[in-house]
């Protein structure tokens, strides 16, 4: 076997390996983007539930105009936010906070607490929030996969060549959960 054939064989093997690694990286990235759209599905669901909630609550909470306005404002902010997933998540967390305040205040209204429609909406919203958390955790696991691939050798070389970037994790504890809910009466 001449030297050229040996070199050709080595080159062919190398190319096959590079293609394999590249495809693995692309797969990890596609999975991550898919996970991101799962978060949006839950976000959208919550988004659609809130106008109903505001309508239901309006009749009862006559004195709490600002709280309702805050909820609506936070909702609009989420709708209009067009940044990185993490910036969006920040808006979402503020929205969560506004809703939490609303539910905390609703404790003061026994009539509202016995409204079946309100209770149903409250349950739905809580459930959607849990689902958003679940979707974020799945996103985090896909990001972890991708980041590990990008950082470890020899995948790191290929990742650098084709410009794969590391992604950031969501913080699982929402900022609204860290600080206590402020309620003014």
């Amino acid at each position: 076997m001449s030297i050229t054939t040996i070199i050709l064989i080595i080159a062919a093997v190398l190319i096959v390996i590079i293609i394999g690694i590249y495809n693995g990286l692309v797969r990890a990235r596609v999975r991550m983007r898919e996970a991101l759209s799962d978060i949006d599905v839950q976000s959208k669901r919550r988004f659609d539930l809130v106008p109903n909630l505001v309508e239901t609550v309006k009749g009862y909470m006559t004195q709490e105009r600002t709280i309702l306005e805050n909820v609506t404002k936070a909702r609009t902010a989420v709708m209009q936010s067009s940044g990185t997933p993490l910036e969006k998540a920040d808006m979402e967390n503020q929205f969560t906070g506004a809703l939490k305040t609303l539910f905390a205040v609703s404790e003061q209204y026994p009539n509202l607490k016995s409204n079946m429609n309100f209770l149903e909406l409250q349950r739905e919203l809580e459930d959607t929030e849990n689902k958003m958390m679940a979707a974020r955790r799945f996103y985090n696991s896909t990001v972890q996969d991708l980041n590990t691939k990008i950082q470890t050798f020899p995948t790191s070389i290929i990742a650098g060549m084709f410009g794969f970037r590391e992604e950031k994790f969501f913080e699982i504890t929402a900022s609204a959960e860290r600080e206590p809910v402020k309620v003014k009466f």
Binding site: R31, D127, R137, F138
Partner: protein, 298 residues
Amino acid sequence: MASLYTHRDSNIRKTWIIFTVFLIIVIGAGFLFSRIYDNPTIVIFAVVFAVVMSMVSYWNSDKIVLAMAHAAPVSRESNRELYTIVENLSITAGLPVPKIYITDEAQLNAFATGRDPKHAVICVTRGLLERLNRSELEGVIAHELSHVGNRDILVSTIVVVLVGFIAILSDIFMRSLWLRGGGRRRGEGAQILLLLGIAFAILAPIIATLMRLAISRRRESLADASGALLTRYPDGLASALEKIRDDRTPMSIANNSTAHLWIDDPYNEQKKTPFLHKLFMTHPPIEERIKMLRGMKV
């Protein structure tokens, strides 16, 4: 959650091996039968039968398993809490929401079945729902979802049907030999075949049990670990397993061919454990599993 995906390929490979072993055993048995009875159509019959059985076990074994467990489906409306737990954990695991079933048993137990995540089923006992709190239930469901994600469900479910069938086959073989015992004798060749037949009848159930063991006790510990990754709260599953360990309720639907499916061995009354079952334990000791979970850091 790398463990979920890396384990999957080996399970798919195992499924192929089990199908192959099954085909060899059944067709081999058909060959022996046809020699003993001097009737070549038996081989053809065995081939057709083996292929049909394999197909049935691939497409329908989940339904057979559910029927064996007398399980009834659950909808979002009929059990909201259970449904949302499963739904949320499926989102975390990145799996489609499986169908959920409840079986009316007082023992604390659960299993998952189905050929792939799209056709997966999770089944829990009524006792489990009544006696576990939310985080414990989440732990158990996450464990079962790990079985779904890494395709343990495929291997262990087809094994129920194929192994069950081999057991029946060897039983028939034994009986037919018994009946023919004092009948016609046709020289040494027939006697050798007869010996082979007896050997097969003894070996088949052992092979069947080994096949069931091929799905390994390790899979339970693996599912514990990846389940804990889903909930990020290993203590939930650990305390659920403690309750399962202390539970001494017998299970009326306990069956040797499905025992390996459950989160813990349904034969929990140590004194009455059938002899063969003791020899071929399908689950790792529950104490070890609890210890591993308690020592886990996530």
